[in-house]
């Protein structure tokens, strides 16, 4: 397990370093002068010179990368060149909102999707199983931004039951929860289908195992057999799916944040791209990449811990 842990962490570090390089090159691959693009066509020469100095654009490119790498590795992602606020602080202010949105979206999807998958597997080929299959495929097929737009139009604009924009008053948990309903619904909907299909497939496999038949033969309660014995094993591939799919969930959160004008990392990146605020874009993408890598690492380690066969597969 220790060797697996080392290898997996090493791979994660390589991924983060690649992301760092890509983000650095991004600034230099954009057509045009980065300072003029960021400050606008009418920026004064003095403002452009100040920007270039702050971003080290007047240094040789290798030295620029060295400075960028050293600063990033020491936790300094620079400052917003306009407001001079710390990029790390700006991103960390936005991150909890995105994580809460993704987690709540995933949670409600799991609460619906996992039981749906279980019942479908317990009664395969019944009308309930077929209906669940159709609904699952439908929810997987509908892009989350479309769900966001339609749910916003129906529940917020037409019915006026839920808010169109924002994340609620800071400090008012009820208001924040009220503002979370629609975005979380939009983010989680496709996961209902994913989880239902994945749990059903795994459960069908597990339900035919001899130890499940033995459990039934011993007269255990059906609910106990399904949820305590079968689901415990069948859920393993689902954990991996959640880990791998969390990146997709962050993308869905990005759309939801833009459409519902919720503060979060996705909205932050979008706004900063629009404003050509490169240091914040670089910092936000780097931190998001780090979160994504960490979650994947966590999921892989959990699976390796539960299933020793996986440890030899890397």
């Amino acid at each position: 397990m220790f060797h697996y842990l080392l290898k997996r962490i090493g791979l994660s570090v390589v991924i983060v370093l690649c992301a760092l390089l890509a983000l650095f090159l991004l600034l230099h691959l954009i057509p045009g002068d980065p300072a003029t693009i960021a400050l606008g066509p009418r920026a004064t020469p003095e403002a452009i010179a100040r920007y270039a100095a702050k971003m080290h654009l007047d240094e040789p490119i290798l030295l620029q990368f060295q400075i960028y790498l050293f600063n990033a590795l020491s936790g300094d992602l620079g400052v917003d060149v306009f407001s001079e606020r710390s990029v790390t602080r700006i991103v960390l202010e936005a991150l909890p909102s995105t994580l809460i949105l993704a987690a709540v979206g995933l949670l409600w999807a799991a609460l619906i999707g996992v039981p749906l998958g279980c019942i479908s597997a317990v009664r395969p080929n019944s009308w309930f199983d077929r209906l669940t299959g159709v609904i699952s495929v439908a929810t997987i097929a509908i892009p989350s931004f479309l769900v966001s737009i339609w749910s916003l139009l129906v529940f917020a604009v037409i019915l006026k039951w839920l808010p169109v924009i924002g994340a609620g008053e800071p400090g008012d948990l009820a208001d924040q929860a009220y503002h979370l309903v629609l975005p979380a619904f939009a983010v989680g909907l496709s996961w209902v289908g994913y989880l239902a299909r994945m749990v059903r497939a795994s459960m069908l496999e597990v339900m035919n195992e001899t130890y499940i038949r033995a459990a039934h033969a011993f007269g255990l309660e059906p609910r106990t057999v399904v949820f305590r014995y079968a689901l415990k094993v069948a859920i393993l591939p689902t954990i991996t799916l959640i880990g791998i799919g969390f990146g997709g969930l962050l993308s869905s959160a990005l759309f939801a944040e833009i459409i519902f004008t919720r503060p979060g990392v996705g909205k932050l990146i979008y706004d900063m791209v629009m404003n050509r605020n490169f240091p914040v874009v670089q910092g936000a993408v780097l931190i998001t990449t780090g979160v994504y890598v960490l979650i994947n690492l966590g999921a892989d380690l959990v699976v390796a811990w539960l299933d020793p066969r996986v440890r030899d597969s890397l």
């Binding site: 693009i37 039981p115 529940f155 839920l162 924009i165 833009i258």
Partner: protein
Amino acid sequence: MIEDKLNRRTFLASSAMVGGATLFGLPLFARDASAQATKLIARTNGDISILDPGYMIGDAEIEMQNAVLPVLLNFHIGDDGVYGWQPSVYVEKFEERDPTHYDFVLKPGFMWTNGYGEFTAEDVKYTYERIKTTDWSGNFEALDRVEVTGKYSGTLVLSQPYAPFTLLGLTSGPAAILCKAAMLKVGEKFTTEFPATCGPYVFQWTPKQKLSLRPNPEWTGPKPAFAEVDVLIITEASAAELAFEAGEVAVTEITASTYSRYKDNPPPNGAIHVAGALQYMWLGMNTEHPKLSDIRVRKAIQHAVDAEQIIQGAYDGTTEKSNGIICPGLIGHRKATKYSYDPEKAKAMLAEAGVSGLQLELKTLNEQERVLAAQIIQSQLAAVGITVKVIPLDSGPFWEMGDDKKGDPKNLQIWLMRFGTNPDPQEATQWFTSDQVGVWNWERWKSDEYDALYKQGIAESDEEKREAIYLRMQEIMEDTGAYVWVNHEPEVVVHRKDIKVDVLPSGEMRFRAFTKA
């Protein structure tokens, strides 16, 4: 199996109950629109970056400065629709003694927050002499010094006559006055927190979410109609428009396409307000390019392009036809062009120049309306035998393409360009002088008469004479054949009918002047 406890009926029934309770319970949370009676909820399209008037970036910062900082003059639109100024609520008297001396007297009793005492003439002197050293020094370059003659009185002394000083300098964003004592304490520069304010509101900031204005308990001036203002940061115009339709926002700027939709059919309880049109778009031609160096070819293009078709086709008829670079409401705004849409005349001029099978590249910013406008021009020029290739560009290469140092001006042929301006003709005319060739004068023509008139226009304070100067300058531009004037895009807001809005022609909202209709 499990049907005795967890069967499909139980599951479906439970799900239906939970779902029904949620859906039918939600309306209980729906907000009461009357909650906005004393609190105004508006929208801005971006967060603040730097509130310091010397280093600010955009619209939201100016809106907040307007709400919490004093100024000498306010922008004002006269009954004749012409832009001008009037003394602000802080000012007892403001008058032009001569073209280089402006005397002011402040009203006593306006207090700075955070215990910094009274607003005095020393604050005016500090602010305007400081602004000359900042990024926004442009409109204050003619200011030599501020002489303080009393606690509340002083004189703004210019180094030379500069007619736009009052309108461009003293009503613009950088004219917001700062508290000298507070500024000295914070090191003469600030970013997102005002060191001290002196207005009906105090400012609070929730980053990336909203800008809040709350009552200033020390304010002794006229009370604003709305005790509190929340300005929600909504980047996307379409999201803001939905928020307005859902009743969550009382006023927001709208896009050209939404203006077109709302113009004849506004949303319930909504009204449209056109704040102004301080933008001018034209089709530019490089007079030094071999394909366009013959003025007859350029004039043929002037006759071949119909701006009305572009306005209808790309802007749904929501913009005003342009006849020059000076926008509606400003001194020197033209009512007509010397050329007219006449494809037959265009063909004849091309034939006279001996040009056939002409192929041109039309460059434009890669934005929906611009690309559509470019395609309409493409079809109009095709009708007179000119083949046009439309090349949409991102903002980086677009804004550099005519620059001598960064772009490739020798190969630039024709392009669609839009500039924004402010309420004085000097701003728009400054980009086309001889020293701007290869900087912003991408058409690359020079005129001694134009350069001389530019200097005269700045120094001339007589409005009739200024009008004549700026009309002639646009005529000179048009006579080069390098311009086809297209349109002036307006700044439009939609607002609740029970609110009377106050929006500057450049789109910034003055919340302290909002009233209840």
